[in-house]
C-alpha cells in the first residue's frame, strides 16, 4: 500500500468525521433553528464529501480499480442540500417567524410564503 495514499485516506476520513461531528454538534449548541440550519447544510455535507473522497482513493489505491460510485452520492448531496435547507427554512419561518421580522423584498411582491405570485394568464381553478 503506498504510504501517501494511506495518509490521504486517513486525513480525509478524519476530516470527514470531524466535520460530520461538528455539524451535528451545531444542532445541539446553536440557539435558534435558523442558526442550527447552518451546521448540517455545510459541515456535514463536507464531511460526507471527505469520506467519499477517502473511499474513492481507497478503492483506487488499495483495491486497484477506479470507483465512480462516490461521485453519484456526492452529486445527490450537493444537489439536494440547498433545496432541503430552503424548505426547512421556509417551514421554520412559516411557523415561528413573524412577517415583520423579515426584511422587505424591495419589490412589489412580498416573500413567497406570504404572497401569491404575480398572476399569470390562464391560471385555472377547479
Amino acid at each position: 500500500m503506498p504510504d501517501i495514499a494511506e495518509l490521504l485516506i486517513t486525513i480525509f476520513i478524519v476530516l470527514g468525521g470531524a466535520f460530520g461531528l461538528i455539524g451535528s454538534f451545531g444542532l445541539i449548541k446553536l440557539r435558534d433553528t435558523m442558526q442550527r440550519l447552518h451546521g448540517p447544510t455545510k459541515a456535514v455535507t463536507l464531511g460526507i464529501g471527505s469520506v467519499l473522497i477517502a473511499s474513492m482513493i481507497y478503492s483506487y489505491a488499495i483495491e486497484g480499480h477506479f470507483s465512480f460510485h462516490e461521485f453519484l452520492i456526492t452529486l445527490f448531496m450537493f444537489l439536494t442540500a440547498p433545496i432541503t435547507a430552503n424548505f426547512i427554512a421556509k417551514a421554520y419561518i412559516t411557523r415561528k417567524v413573524a412577517k415583520r421580522e423579515l426584511p422587505e423584498t424591495g419589490s412589489d411582491y412580498g416573500w413567497s410564503i406570504y404572497d401569491d405570485p404575480p398572476i399569470v394568464e390562464n391560471e385555472e381553478q377547479t
Binding site: 413567497s112 406570504y114 404572497d115 405570485p117 377547479t126
Partner: protein
C-alpha cells in the same frame, strides 16, 4: 313375525308429498285445498288399514332405507300395534279435521298455507309413531315442534297466536333437545340407534350408569311435549290457534306424542324406582293441577286445554305405574280421550263460530238453540266425566283400579286418594261444561244469535261421539286394538284382561262413585269457589314465562352489547393478553436445548443505533398525540432499521425497507392532511397502565423468544438455496433468486396483494367522492395558515435533474437485482419516488396531464405479465413459474444473461409502480376535491417567462 313391506315408507312420506300440493295452489280456494289435503291422508289411512289385520294378529311390518350409516341413522320404519293405533288416530282425526277446517276457517284465511302446515304436522306425527330408529324419531319429533309452531302462529296478526307459538316452540323445543341428549346416550349404551334393538336391551339400559341421565333427558322431552307439570303452561296458550288446530294438536296428536314416547320406551326404561316416582309423581300432580285449573276457566277452549293437561297427567301416571295392566288402561284411555276430547274441541269451535264467544259466563241455554251441538257436546263431556255407558268411564275405572293397588313409598292411600280427587275434579269441570253452556235460560245478549252449524261442520264431532258411545256400550270392539297396542307397549306379554262395562263391585267403583257425587257437589258450589279462586294469589305461568323470557332476552342483549360494544381497543387488548398468556402456557410446558451459538459483539456504533431505535420507539409511544412529530420519529426508526439490515448482511432488506418506509410516510402525510393533527387524551390513567402492562408483557415475550432462538443453531433448508441459486436459478443474489424463482409463487401473491390494494384504494376514493364525505371535503377549509408558495421554483429546477437520475437509478437497480442487491420491487419503489419528486415539485395535476401511462393498466399488466411468465413454463411441460435463463455473447459486447425471472421481475416492477402511483393519485384526487386549485405552469412563477411577456407588452 316381522314382515318387510316398503309401502310403509310411502305411508310415512305421503303427508309430506301431499304438503307440496296445497302449498303450490295457495290461492285455489277452500274446497280444492281441503280436497287435496284429504286425498293423501285418506290414501295413507287406507294403506295403513290394509296392514291392520296383520298387525293386529301380532305381526310387525318394517321397512328401511339407508341414510347416514356412519351415524347409525337409517330411515327405518316399523308398524306394530302401538304404532298402528296412533297412526290410525293421526290419520283418521286428520281427515276429520280437514273436513272441519274447511267449514271453520273463513275464506279470507290462506287455506293453502293452513293445509300445508297441517300435512307437514301430520307427516311429522306419523313419522314419530312409525320410526324404528330413535334418531329418525328425533327428527320427526323436532318437526312436530316446528310445524306446530307454524300452526299455532297461523293467525299471525294476533299477538296471542305469535306468543303462544313461540312459547310452545321454546318449551317443546327445549324438551326435544334434552331428548336428543337422552336418545344419544341410549344409543351409546346399546350400541345402536335402532329402536327395536333398544327395546330389546331394557335390562342393559336399566343397569347402565347412564340410565338415570338418559331417563331424565328423555322424560324431559316427553313431559314438555305432553304438557306435564311444570311444563304444562304452554298448552293453554297454544289455544290461540284456530280450533281445528287445537282439536288436532292438543287433543289427538301432538300432546300425545309425549305419552306415545313413554309408552314406546316403556320396555327399555320402565320398571325402575326412578321411573315410577318421576313419571307417576309428575302425572299425578299434573292430573290434579290441570283439573283444578280447568274447573275455574271460563274460556271453553282453556277449560278443555286444562282438562287435556289433566288427562295427559292421568295417562302419564298410568304409564308410571309400570304394570302391564296399567299400560292397557293407558292405551285404552288414549283412544277414549281422543274421541271425546276431539269432539269437545270441535263443539267448542262450533259454539265460538256461531255465538262468537267462548266465554262460559256469556253462554248458557244453548240446549234449545243448538240441539245437535248440545247432544254431541254433552255426550262427549259425560264421557270425559267418566259416566257409565260412555267410553271414558271404562278407562277411568281401570285407572282407579290400578291406583287403588299402588303404594307410594310404602303408603297405600296416597295414590288412590289423589286419583280420586283428580277424578272428582274432572267430573266437576265436565259437568260445568254441560250445565253452564247448554242449560239454564236462553240469553238475549249473545254476541251473535247461535244456531246449529251446517252438517259439514258437525259431521266430524258427531262421528267421534258415535265412537264414544259405541265403545262405551261395546268395549270389546276396541279390544283387539288395545290388546295389540298394549302388547307393543309392554313388549309382548300381557296378563289376561277383557274390556267390559261391569267389573263387579271393586274399590274403583267406590272411588268412581265418590268422584261423581263430589264433582256434582263441587259444581253447585262453583260460584263461591270461583270467587275464592279469583282472590287466591297464584303464580301465573305465562307471566312467569314471559318474565323469564324477557329476562333472558334482556340479559343476552346486555351481555352481547356489553361484550360486543364496538370497543376495538378492548378487543385488541383481550387478543394480545390472551395471546401472551397462551404463548406463555405453551412455552412453560417444555424446555430448551442448550445454547449453541456464540454471542456476537456489540460495537459502539451498534450501541448508538440501539439507543437511537429504543429512544425513538419509546418516544413514538409517549408522544404519539402529536401526530406529525410521531411521523418524523418513525422516520428515525425506519432509517436505523435499514442501516441495521445493511450491517447484518441484508442489503436487499435495507433497500426495500428504506424505500417502503419513505412511500409509507408519504401516504401517512397525505392522509394526515385531512385528519386531526393531534390525538386528544381520552383514556384514563388506569387504562393506560393496563395497556402498558399488556404491551410490556407481550413485548417481553417476543424479546425472550427471539433471544432464545438467537442463541441456538438449527439446520435450515436454505443450504440448498445457496447451493443452487447460481446453478439452477441463474443469479448470484440468493435472496432475489429465492424471491423470483424458488419462492416466486410467494412473490406472485405479494404483487397481487399490492394490485388489490391499488384497486381498493381507487374504489374507496370513488365511493368517498360520491358519498356524503364529498360534501364535507368541499366545505372543509384546508387552506388556513398555509404558505403561499406551492410549487417553488428551486424545487422544480432541482427535480428536473434529479428525477431522470433517480429513474436511471431505478433502472439500474432493476437490471442488476438478480445478481446484486436490488430487483423489481425496489426498482418500482425508486421510480415511484422519482415520480413523487416530480409531483411534489409541480403538483399532481400538472404532472399527470403530461403523463402517458395509466396506473390501472400498469398494475394490471404487471400482474398479468408475472402470471403469464409463470404460465409460460407450461409450454415446456414444466410447472408454473419454472424459470429459464441463458448467457449470451454478442461481440464486442461482453457476455450477459437473460432470464425469464427478469420478465417475472418486470411484472413485479410494474405492479409495484402502478399500485404506489394509483394510491398517490387517489389521495391527491381527494385533496383536489377539497377545493384546491390546479396549476397549469410547472412552477408558481417563472421570472424568465415574465420578461418575455413584459417585452411583448412594450
Amino acid at each position: 313375525m316381522t314382515v318387510v313391506d316398503n309401502t310403509l315408507i310411502i305411508i310415512a312420506l305421503l303427508p309430506f308429498i301431499g304438503a307440496l300440493v296445497p302449498g303450490i295452489m295457495i290461492r285455489a280456494g277452500r274446497n280444492a285445498s281441503a280436497f287435496f289435503t284429504a286425498v293423501p291422508t285418506a290414501l295413507a289411512l287406507t294403506m295403513l288399514l290394509l296392514h291392520a289385520p296383520a298387525v293386529l294378529s301380532g305381526e310387525v311390518i318394517t321397512a328401511e332405507i339407508e341414510w347416514l350409516p356412519q351415524l347409525g341413522l337409517t330411515a327405518a320404519f316399523f308398524l306394530d300395534g302401538l304404532g298402528l293405533m296412533f297412526a290410525a288416530m293421526i290419520l283418521g282425526v286428520g281427515l276429520l279435521i280437514t273436513l272441519y277446517a274447511r267449514f271453520y276457517l273463513s275464506g279470507d284465511d290462506p287455506m293453502g298455507q293452513f293445509y300445508t302446515y297441517l300435512l307437514l304436522f301430520q307427516g311429522a306425527m306419523l313419522g314419530i309413531v312409525l320410526s324404528d330408529n330413535i334418531l329418525l324419531l328425533l327428527i320427526f319429533w323436532e318437526l312436530t315442534s316446528l310445524s306446530s309452531f307454524l300452526l299455532i302462529g297461523y293467525w299471525k296478526h294476533l299477538p296471542e297466536g305469535r306468543q303462544g307459538a313461540r312459547m310452545a316452540l321454546a318449551v317443546t323445543g327445549a324438551g326435544g333437545l334434552a331428548m336428543i341428549g337422552g336418545m344419544l346416550i341410549l344409543g351409546n349404551i346399546v350400541g345402536s340407534y335402532n329402536l327395536s334393538d333398544i327395546l330389546a336391551s331394557g335390562e342393559a339400559i336399566r343397569a347402565s350408569e347412564w340410565y338415570l341421565p338418559a331417563l331424565i333427558l328423555i322424560l324431559l322431552g316427553a313431559f314438555t311435549k305432553s304438557a306435564q307439570f311444570p311444563f304444562h303452561f304452554w298448552l293453554p296458550h297454544a289455544m290461540a290457534a284456530p280450533t281445528p288446530v287445537s282439536a288436532y294438536l292438543h287433543s289427538a296428536t301432538m300432546v300425545k306424542a309425549g305419552v306415545f314416547l313413554m309408552a314406546r320406551m316403556w320396555p327399555a326404561l320402565a320398571g325402575t324406582d326412578a321411573w315410577f316416582y318421576i313419571v307417576t309423581g309428575v302425572g299425578l300432580i299434573t292430573m290434579i293441577l290441570g283439573a283444578l285449573i280447568a274447573l275455574f276457566k271460563d274460556d271453553l277452549k282453556a277449560l278443555l286445554a286444562y282438562s287435556t293437561v289433566s288427562h295427559l297427567g292421568l295417562l302419564t301416571m298410568l304409564l308410571g305405574f309400570g304394570t302391564p295392566i296399567a299400560a292397557v288402561a293407558a292405551v285404552f284411555h288414549i283412544l277414549n280421550h281422543l274421541t271425546f276430547k276431539a269432539a269437545l274441541f270441535m263443539t267448542a269451535g262450533i259454539i265460538d263460530h256461531e255465538a262468537h264467544t267462548r266465554d262460559i259466563k256469556r253462554l248458557g241455554g244453548l240446549r234449545k238453540l243448538m240441539p245437535v251441538t248440545f247432544i254431541i257436546g254433552t255426550f262427549a263431556a259425560l264421557s270425559m266425566a267418566g259416566i257409565p255407558l260412555f267410553n271414558g268411564f271404562l278407562s277411568k275405572e281401570m285407572m282407579l283400579e290400578e291406583a287403588a293397588h299402588t303404594d307410594w313409598a310404602g303408603n297405600p292411600y296416597a295414590v288412590p286418594i289423589l286419583a280420586t280427587i283428580g277424578a272428582l275434579l274432572s267430573v266437576a269441570y265436565s259437568f260445568r261444561f254441560i250445565v253452564h253452556v247448554f242449560f239454564g235460560p236462553v240469553r238475549d245478549n249473545y254476541p251473535s244469535k247461535p244456531h246449529d252449524p251446517p252438517f259439514g261442520m258437525w259431521a266430524a264431532p258427531a262421528l267421534l261421539v258415535l265412537a264414544v258411545v259405541l265403545i262405551g256400550l261395546m268395549p270389546h270392539l276396541a279390544e283387539p286394538v288395545v290388546r295389540a297396542a298394549a302388547g307393543a307397549v309392554t313388549g309382548g306379554v300381557l296378563p289376561e284382561f277383557h274390556l267390559k262395562i261391569w267389573h263387579g263391585v271393586t274399590p274403583a267403583l267406590y272411588m268412581s262413585g265418590v268422584a261423581v257425587l263430589g264433582g256434582a257437589i263441587l259444581l253447585t258450589l262453583h260460584a263461591p269457589l270461583d270467587r275464592l279462586w279469583l282472590r287466591t294469589p297464584r303464580p301465573e305461568a305465562k307471566v312467569i314465562f314471559d318474565r323469564l323470557m324477557a329476562a333472558a332476552v334482556g340479559l343476552s342483549r346486555r351481555i352481547t352489547e356489553i361484550t360486543h360494544d364496538g370497543s376495538m381497543s378492548r378487543y385488541l387488548a383481550i387478543f394480545v393478553a390472551a395471546t401472551t398468556v397462551m404463548g406463555y402456557v405453551a412455552w412453560s410446558g417444555s424446555g430448551l436445548p442448550l445454547p449453541s451459538r456464540e454471542l456476537l459483539p456489540i460495537p459502539p456504533l451498534v450501541f448508538v443505533g440501539w439507543i437511537c431505535i429504543l429512544l425513538a420507539t419509546v418516544s413514538v409511544a409517549l408522544m404519539h398525540r402529536q401526530r406529525f412529530r410521531a411521523l418524523v420519529v418513525i422516520g428515525v426508526i425506519g432509517l436505523t432499521i435499514s442501516v441495521g439490515f445493511v450491517y447484518l448482511s441484508a442489503p436487499d432488506l435495507a433497500l426495500t425497507q428504506i424505500s417502503v418506509e419513505t412511500v409509507t410516510i408519504m401516504l401517512l402525510l397525505l392522509a394526515l392532511h385531512f385528519l386531526p393533527k393531534t390525538t386528544p387524551i381520552e383514556s384514563s390513567v388506569p387504562r393506560r397502565i393496563r395497556d402498558g402492562v399488556i404491551a410490556l408483557a407481550a413485548g417481553g415475550g417476543v424479546a425472550a423468544l427471539s433471544y432464545t432462538f438467537l442463541l441456538r443453531d438449527m439446520p435450515s433448508i436454505s443450504e440448498y438455496h445457496l447451493a443452487n441459486s447460481y446453478k439452477g436459478g441463474g443469479g448470484t443474489n440468493v435472496v432475489n433468486v429465492i424471491l423470483v424463482d424458488f419462492r416466486g409463487y410467494d412473490t406472485y401473491g405479494e404483487i397481487i396483494v399490492l394490485g388489490i390494494a391499488g384497486l381498493i384504494i381507487f374504489a374507496l376514493m370513488e365511493a368517498l367522492l360520491n358519498g356524503p364525505a364529498a360534501r364535507k371535503l368541499r366545505n372543509a377549509d384546508y387552506s388556513q395558515d398555509r404558505s403561499r408558495d406551492r410549487h417553488p421554483l428551486m424545487m422544480v429546477i432541482a427535480t428536473r435533474v434529479m428525477m431522470p437520475v433517480a429513474i436511471m437509478v431505478g433502472v439500474y437497480i432493476f437490471l442488476r437485482g438478480h445478481n446484486q442487491p436490488g430487483g423489481g420491487f425496489v426498482a418500482g419503489l425508486v421510480i415511484s419516488i422519482a415520480l413523487l419528486m416530480q409531483y411534489m415539485a409541480s403538483g399532481f395535476a400538472w404532472t399527470l396531464r403530461r403523463q402517458q401511462i395509466e396506473y390501472h393498466s400498469m398494475i394490471g399488466s404487471g400482474v398479468v405479465i408475472a402470471g403469464l411468465t409463470g404460465a409460460g413454463a407450461w409450454l415446456g411441460g414444466k410447472p408454473f413459474l419454472t424459470s429459464g435463463f441463458d448467457y449470451f455473447h454478442i461481440p464486442p459486447i461482453e457476455e450477459f444473461e437473460l432470464a425469464t425471472a427478469m420478465l417475472f421481475d418486470l411484472g413485479v416492477f410494474l405492479a409495484v409502480l402502478g399500485a404506489v402511483m394509483l394510491m398517490l393519485y387517489s389521495l391527491s384526487r381527494i385533496a383536489r376535491y377539497a377545493g384546491e386549485t390546479v396549476n397549469i405552469e410547472p412552477m408558481d412563477y417563472d421570472p424568465s417567462k415574465q420578461v418575455v411577456m413584459d417585452e411583448k407588452e412594450k
